[in-house]
Structures are given as structure tokens and as C-alpha cells.
Amino acid sequence: MIKVTGLSKRYGNYLAVEDVNFEIKKGEIIGFLGPNGAGKSTIMNILTGYLSLTQGKVEIDGFDIAEYPEDAKKRIGYLPEIPPLYIDMKVREYLDFIYDLKKVKFPKKAHIDEILRLVKIDNVQNRLIKNLSKGYRQRVGFAQALIGNPDILILDEPTVGLDPKQIIEIRNLIARLGKNHTIILSSHILSEIQAICKRIIIINRGQLIADDSAENLSKKLSSDRTLVARIECNEKDMLEALSSVKGVAKVTSLGKKEEGTCDFLIEPERDTDIRSAVFDRVVSRGKKLLSLSSNMASLEQVFLRLTEADNDEVRRILGQNEAPTDHKADAETQEV
């Protein structure tokens, strides 16, 4: 359905997208994941024909976007980061305009009515867009993308700035649309992408650094089994005691965070669960284990750190199924 080969985009001297390749089959729901400024929007803008490309090729259902822009664009519904709305128009009026603009062939009234119901804005159809809340505007943007019932939907951060209830609604909507559309969705929030997409493409600094199923990716990202323990004890003795636990690779003291206690960062050997062993050792020394938590505060943090690392490092991490090594930083974030 979508085939991207060797895609690059240069703004003056700045290389925004560098040699990106991927292919998306009909009916797939793909998540574009990356921090702000990674190049997600640029890639989406190129796929939809809004921006030109510097190098490479984009094919939409076999049509090259540069050579047959109209045929390609006909197959795409696009919701940009900021919904493209004429705020001085009424919802219905605006959708009528988009319908005419896209030269849609379906019966006009029935088609627009159906979309209004689908995105649940039929109750505001006669209101001026400028008087609508952000959530409603987002949905009008959604409706605009759906007009003409295109096979492909490209959604740039569709849930940004919405309240939790609206986010869930939009997610459900995407899931429903996913049954008969090919969808590309972008976000800088991992959990959001995980909730909707089966396949995830991670983009960082203009490069594609991972393209894998959501399951595999989260496995790779969450393989870190490092623990943080707070123990009522003497730092030196406990360091020694913990180091000799079977399966423990390395113990680092994080110092005194609470009176009479000490925090430790305990790294296990690869793929080993050392939680009970650590507990037993502490108890056997007659000390009290106050807390024991996974150093993985959230997948979010790992992802964030991944995107802060340079791309080769990230590829190594994802490729080798190895956890990032900078534990100290992570432990600190958890304390916050």
C-alpha cells in the first residue's frame, strides 16, 4: 500500500530525514514513534504530498507521489498535527467544502452524515468551528480526513492536547477505523502507540532506527530487570552481602536517601529474575527490606533515554536485546 525507498529531506543545510525505507501493507496499523523534532511530521507531510522530497521515492498504492500526486492523494486522508480548519466556517459547511474539494463521488448528505456520526460531532454540526473546544476541533479534523473514505489514514499525533476521556475516545475510533483502513499514526508517547498499533517504526534524528512488532519492541525495551532496593542496614556490609547473591552481576550503592537506610542498584545477569534471592539474602542477614522495585519506572523512560542516545547505540540496544547501561540516570528519575 505504501512503499518508501531511500527517503531523504533536506531543509537548507539541515538534513531532517535521512535514507528512510519501509513498506506498509494493506490493513496494517503502524505507529511512528519518536521524540519531538525527530522527523515524524516531515515524513508524514512527504507521504501526503504536502512537502516535496529531496531524495528517494514514495509510492502510494503503486502511484509515485511525485509523478501522480492526484492519484496518490486521492487514497490518503490526512490529519496533520494542527487540524487544518477554517475557523470561520460551521462544521457542516466546512465538511461540505472538503467534500467538494476532494471531488468525492458518494452521495453527499449521507456520506457526511455518516462521518459526523462516526466521529460523534453530529451534535455540533451547525456550530462555528472557532467556538469549538480542542477535542471537538480534533474530531472535525478527523472527519475531514475521513471524507471520501480513503484507504489510507495518516494521523499526526491525533491525541495531543486532549483530556484523558477524549484520548480514549479517539483511540477507540482509530481502532474501529483500523478494521478497514491502513493507518499510520504518530506519537511521541510509547504507551499510546502500543495501545493501538501492531507494528512500530521508531524514528530518531531523521533516521529510522527500528521497525518491529509492538510486542518484540516492548520486550526488547523492557528486558531490563535491574532492581532498586531500599534496605535498613549498614551500607558496606549489605553491599558485600548482595554482591554474593547468585545471579547478581553488579551492585552499586546509591547512598543514603532516608535516615538509617541505604539504596542499592542491583543488576542481574542476563534474563535472570533475582527478586526472591535478593529478598531472602536481606532477611537472612536480619535486615529489613523497605522497598524493592524494578528500575524500569516505565517503558516511557527507557524510550526517552533511547532517543537521547545516539542512533547507533540505540540500534545496538534494540538489535542485541540488551538493556541500556546508564542505570544511574534512570534510578534518579525514579526517585523524582
Partner: protein
């Protein structure tokens, strides 16, 4: 193109812009007609010829938001990702502004009917003047549209357009101040007002029609390029 035309034309009347422009024209047209009628010179074409000054000040208002607003509100993303050619987007906008401008001259039809019912008139004199006004307006709209496509700020667009309109219309007046003879004679000839005034002299001047039409085509083309260029930068 029709979708864009309809939306832009409607937008002129869902904001005060359309009303302001029409009101200005109707007021001055009415006043001129009253004055010349009072002097016993029932020449509607002279009312039309007097409108060039009004056009200078109102065209920037008519064109200021035409392109810049889309960019500011990011609606251009909907326009440029829809399966339409950039040229038809531009033409739709151009004709919407032009339609409002054309409406501004509607009263002159009534004036002409009133005058014709009292004295015998040469309808061609009126039609030439009207044609001249349409061409002048078309050229000013095309220029304004192009300027509007260069910026995101409609205020900036309006001011720039106003300055440029004064310049192109009254180039002949500035020509006297310039000592370089070829430049001053070029400015003398290229001034819109020189070309426009010939339409008021009851002659059909092909040169001037071609001149204005080529200005329109050139600036419509430049607007297309300006939009196209944004995709590449």
C-alpha cells in the same frame, strides 16, 4: 476550483471584508454619479474611471487574507494534500476576490440604465470603461494575492500591497523625478493609470488589454510558484 471559489467568496461575506470593500465602492460611485449628474454630464464611464483610487485602497483589504490566512491557520495542509492542482487552488481564490470586485461595479449598470432612459448614450463607451476597470482590478488582485502568498501576516500583506499598488498605478508621476530617460519613459508607459485611462477614451486598446492580462497571468503564475516553492524549502 469551484469548491475553493465558493468557500472564499462566502468567506468574504462571513467577515466584514466583503461588506467594507463593497460599501467603499458603492459610496464613492454614488457620490461621483450624483456630482456629475448634478453638473449635467451624465457619463457613467467617468464614474468608473474615478474608481482607480478607491481600488488602490480597497484591493489590499480584499487580497490580504487570501493566501496568508491559510498558512497561518495551517489550512493549506488540507488544500495541498487534497487531490487538486495548486493552479486550481490559486485560480479559485483569484476568481473569488475578482467576483467581489466585479460586484462593486454593479451599481454602474443601474446608472447606465437611468442615464440611457433620458439621453441617448454610446453603450460601448460604458463597456470599454467597465472592461478597463475589470482588467485593472484583476491585475491588482493578482499582485495582492501573490504578496499575500509570501507572508503569514495579513496586515503585512495589506501594507505591502498598498505600497506596491500606489507604485504601479502612479508610476508615471514618479517618472518625472527620475533623470534616467529610458527608465522614466518606461515607468511612464508601464503605469497602470496610463493604460487604464485609455479605456475611458472610448477606444478599444488591444495593447492595454494584453498588458493587463499578462500582468494577471504572470502574478497568478507567481502565486502558484510561491506555494509550490514552500513544498521545496
Amino acid at each position: 476550483m469551484l469548491a475553493i471559489f465558493k468557500r472564499e467568496f462566502k468567506a468574504y461575506f462571513s467577515t466584514p471584508i466583503g461588506y467594507i470593500v463593497l460599501a467603499a465602492f458603492y459610496f464613492f460611485l454614488g457620490m461621483y454619479f450624483y456630482m456629475i449628474y448634478g453638473y449635467g454630464v451624465p457619463a457613467v464611464h467617468q464614474c468608473i474611471m474615478a474608481m482607480s483610487t478607491v481600488a488602490i485602497f480597497t484591493m489590499p483589504i480584499l487580497t490580504m487574507r487570501l493566501m496568508s490566512e491559510d498558512r497561518r491557520q495551517k489550512v493549506d495542509q488540507a488544500l495541498l494534500t487534497a487531490p487538486v492542482k495548486i493552479t486550481s487552488v490559486i485560480l479559485g481564490k483569484f476568481f473569488a476576490a475578482f467576483a467581489v470586485y466585479a460586484l462593486a461595479f454593479l451599481p454602474t449598470v443601474i446608472f447606465e440604465i437611468i442615464v440611457a432612459s433620458y439621453v441617448s448614450v454610446n453603450i460601448l463607451t460604458y463597456l470599454y470603461a467597465l472592461l478597463g476597470a475589470m482588467l485593472l482590478g484583476g491585475a491588482l488582485i493578482a499582485i495582492g494575492m501573490f504578496i499575500s502568498s509570501l507572508t503569514e501576516s495579513s496586515v503585512l500583506s495589506a501594507i505591502l500591497t498598498l505600497v506596491i499598488n500606489i507604485l504601479v498605478l502612479y508610476m508615471s508621476n514618479f517618472a518625472e523625478m527620475i533623470n534616467i530617460s529610458w527608465l522614466s519613459s518606461l515607468m511612464e508607459k508601464a503605469a497602470f493609470v496610463t493604460a487604464f485611462e485609455r479605456f475611458g477614451e472610448n477606444v478599444f486598446s488591444v495593447v492595454d488589454v494584453v498588458y493587463f492580462l499578462s500582468i494577471i497571468v504572470a502574478f497568478v503564475f507567481l502565486s502558484v510558484r510561491s506555494l509550490e516553492k514552500r513544498r521545496w524549502s
